[in-house]
């Protein structure tokens, strides 16, 4: 703010007796920018925001009242409201054209927070694991990245969650570390999306597809199987 306008906006006022804390110094109030009506409107807006944030977190849905982009910024308070039932991780397997199933190390393709659950793959699975459109886009991305760098090309994927049981309260347990998928029992796994076998075969044998374009699955064929 320019010095001149700030000086103009600064006023000296006597301190009312009820003020907290009682000022020990001469009070010079820096007035907020804008005309008085704007300051009043902003104060009102601030009050509305706090009320909306409170109601949304306390369980009063406001999506019929507020536009989604505004509501989004009100959804900040309901953190960890439930107990975890399992320790959950998301993993991917690739179906190679050599007829093998391999775990795909996704960390090079999702470098942001690659080693914890804030990485983009985990977040995509957390939000969209039942959304076919997003899962197909995720499949295309993982295939593109894998086939670009790995000589063992894949023609399809499966995306799954690992539901690892929690230790009993107070019991001893090993330090968390990421283990290969093969180290977990099959009953821990739940597959949310997979490429059907015939699609994998078609992609792998199609002479018109180079290894790189293997990473771009066809859309809208409707044969991607149940999620």
């Amino acid at each position: 703010m320019p010095t001149a306008s700030r000086r103009k906006a600064t006023s000296s006022r006597p301190a009312p007796s009820a003020r907290t804390p009682a000022p020990q110094r001469e009070e010079r109030v820096e007035i907020s920018p804008g005309p008085p009506w704007l300051r009043r409107a902003l104060a009102l807006l601030g009050g509305f925001y706090i009320a909306a944030m409170f109601l949304e977190g306390a369980g009063t849905p406001l999506h019929h009242v507020l536009p989604r982009p505004l509501l989004f910024f009100c959804q900040i308070s309901a953190l960890f409201p439930h107990a975890a039932t399992h320790s959950i991780e998301y993993r991917a397997q690739g179906y190679t054209c050599g007829n093998r199933v391999v775990e795909i190390d996704l960390r090079p393709y999702f470098p942001i927070h690659a080693d914890d659950k804030e990485n983009r793959f985990d977040r995509a699975m957390f939000f969209y694991r039942q959304d076919r459109t997003v899962m197909q886009a995720l499949e295309a991305f993982v295939m593109r990245e894998h086939n670009r760098s790995d000589p063992d090309k894949i023609g399809g994927v499966s995306f799954m969650s690992l539901r690892i049981p929690l230790p009993a309260p107070g019991s001893s347990f090993p330090r968390y570390r990421r283990l290969p998928l093969a180290d977990y029992p099959a009953e821990y796994r739940r597959v949310w999306y997979h490429t059907p076998h015939d699609t994998v075969l078609r992609r792998c044998r199609d002479p018109w597809q180079s290894p790189t374009t293997l990473g771009s699955p066809r859309r809208g064929t409707g044969d991607e199987g149940d999620l």
Partner: protein, 290 residues
Amino acid sequence: MSLDAAPRAFTSPQPIERLETVRILAPLAILGFLSTRLWHVGSWLTEAGFVVPNLGRDDYRQPLYLGPLPLWLAVIVAVLTVASGLSTSLGYKTRIASGVFAALLAYLALADRLEAFTVSKLGTVVAVALFASPAGARYGIDARARPQSSAPPTHVNWGNVRFFQALLVFMYASSGIAKASGGWLDNPSVIWTHLHDSYQTAITYLLASTVPAFGWTIFQYTTLVYELGAPVWYAWTRTRIAALMVGLGMHITIGIMFGPVVWFSLLMMSLLLASFAPLPLLARALRHLW
């Protein structure tokens, strides 16, 4: 205090130190959170990384679809975000900087749901509030450039401080209600259940291996009482300092035990300190800094 004095006290001018503490600390916590994302901005905002496609429908997970950026533009967004955040914190061209910072934070929060966390949303709101305030009038580069002949401001309009105070206490209360209705009253091991995934740090493991189960239950119910009662604890002067200590302790614990959540803890601690720390303490710290 008489009944008519209470509203007057609420709407009386507030010490400028509280606003300037938010201005100095909050952008740093927000930038800390963003740092790992901004470092990989190509994987975040461009088609070099995975981008959620346009869902084309009313969906809570995609409040607004904003398409991926070309790499050069993503880099400019990243650089501007860091520059405007630092500039706000330093109090340099604060009005413009905080406006740019707020706009970019809003864009980053809306552009990609996968990287939007509480810090993204709360950080945007804090930046907008700073933009609408006279932040930077003291304890910053702009204020230093002011002629020595004019006395520095001591207070700001009530709304510039009361907003952050009310935001905090009602955020806690709302969170407490969500926890109480979500299982924190029935299950004494809620916190224990969250200690075992990839957020786990060495300190988490050490504490989880040594603190008995009832210790986690005590922590759980202390958190619940603190959050549910926050409007009372902070409004009543007799409990305010104790509440501040509990709040800071809670966020320190969360910060060291849940890996990446440390930036959320730091943002909340900066708002807590700015809003409720004893004024002489804040004033002394700011004078020492500037």
